[in-house]
């Protein structure tokens, strides 16, 4: 409970209009919403449950919960946040049953995790302590199709899959699904600062994986 309810963003005009369509039984509007939120919902579910199959069930169960509550939703939070919170509650229950309960506290970044191996910087005894021993590569000098190729994309995806759950969820929400930082904070109940640390760590680890691939 890191954010006061007073700070929460309410449903937008666009969301209220969508809500009207859903309540009127507009199938297309529902299908579009399911499609739009799908990647985010799977990612958020996987913060709390172990397997893809269970995450898929959690997403389905969440939509049933959304339908059940649709007539009572008052737009005090954004529609997306409301949907994702229903999902989080279900995912947490499932996670507990799976014996992988993730308490709030553990979503916060833990310990110290340098973005770059400290060995790559000059030590206190050297001239220019804290400066690069040797520079990272200039990726602009690489052929365009290497940086933008399919293999590089696969390396990034594999690196994301290997991230600790909270980091993975944040980078998927922000950099793949294009969620706002506030949405991440509201749904995962982390502070703005912690959201940024998780994103920073996730991007740093993915950069490192790309560097290992591109420098090879």
């Amino acid at each position: 409970m890191t954010r006061a309810a007073a700070h929460e963003r309410r449903a937008t005009a666009e969301e209220l209009e969508l809500l009207g369509l859903l309540r009127a039984g507009d199938e297309r509007a529902f299908e579009e919403l399911v499609t739009e939120y799908y990647g985010t919902m799977i990612a958020v579910a996987l913060t709390y449950v172990r397997t893809r199959a269970v995450a898929e069930e959690v997403v389905q169960e969440a939509w049933l919960g959304v339908l059940k509550g649709l007539d009572r939703f008052e737009g005090r939070s954004s529609l997306k946040t409301w949907v994702l919170r229903i999902l989080v509650n279900i995912a947490k229950t499932r996670g507990t049953r799976e014996a992988r309960s993730v308490p709030f506290a553990s979503l916060a970044p833990e310990g110290d995790e340098p973005a770059v191996d400290p060995e790559r910087f000059r030590g206190p005894g050297d001239g220019f302590p804290g400066h690069w021993r040797s520079y990272p590569a200039n990726w602009h000098a690489l052929p365009e199709d290497v940086v933008h190729g399919q293999e590089t994309l696969r390396v990034a995806l594999r690196a994301i899959e290997r991230l600790p759950p909270a980091q993975r969820t944040v980078i998927v929400m922000r950099d793949i699904q294009g969620c706002e930082p506030e949405e991440v904070c509201e749904v995962l109940e982390v502070s703005e600062g912690n959201q940024r640390v998780l994103l920073h760590r996730a991007r740093s680890r993915v950069r490192q994986a790309l560097e290992e691939h591109l420098d090879a």
Binding site: Q60, L64, H131, A137
Partner: protein
């Protein structure tokens, strides 16, 4: 937090890179960050690597809804509509 008051080192810059791109650095730290980039190609290239990372991750395709899930949910929606 800085190893020296009036400048940041490369080791500090890499920890600030993502926040810089998010425009989340306080003005004075953003200034120190930019001053550092003016004379350090290593950090400039590092920042470009982070930018390229964000851009690459952004090109990962959003996941499609599996057809069975779509069908199941549409059926649920129709049932809900009737009730």
């Amino acid at each position: 937090m800085h190893e020296s008051g009036e400048h940041v080192t490369c080791r500090e810059v890499v920890e600030l890179a993502s926040d810089y791109l998010e425009r989340a650095l306080p003005a004075d730290e953003a200034t120190l960050f930019e001053q550092h980039l003016n004379f350090c190609d290593g950090c400039l290239w590092y920042l470009e690597q982070i930018r390229a990372t964000v851009e690459t991750v952004g090109r990962i395709r959003e996941e499609d809804v599996p057809p069975e899930t779509r069908d199941k949910l549409l059926t649920a929606f129709r049932d809900w509509k009737r009730s």
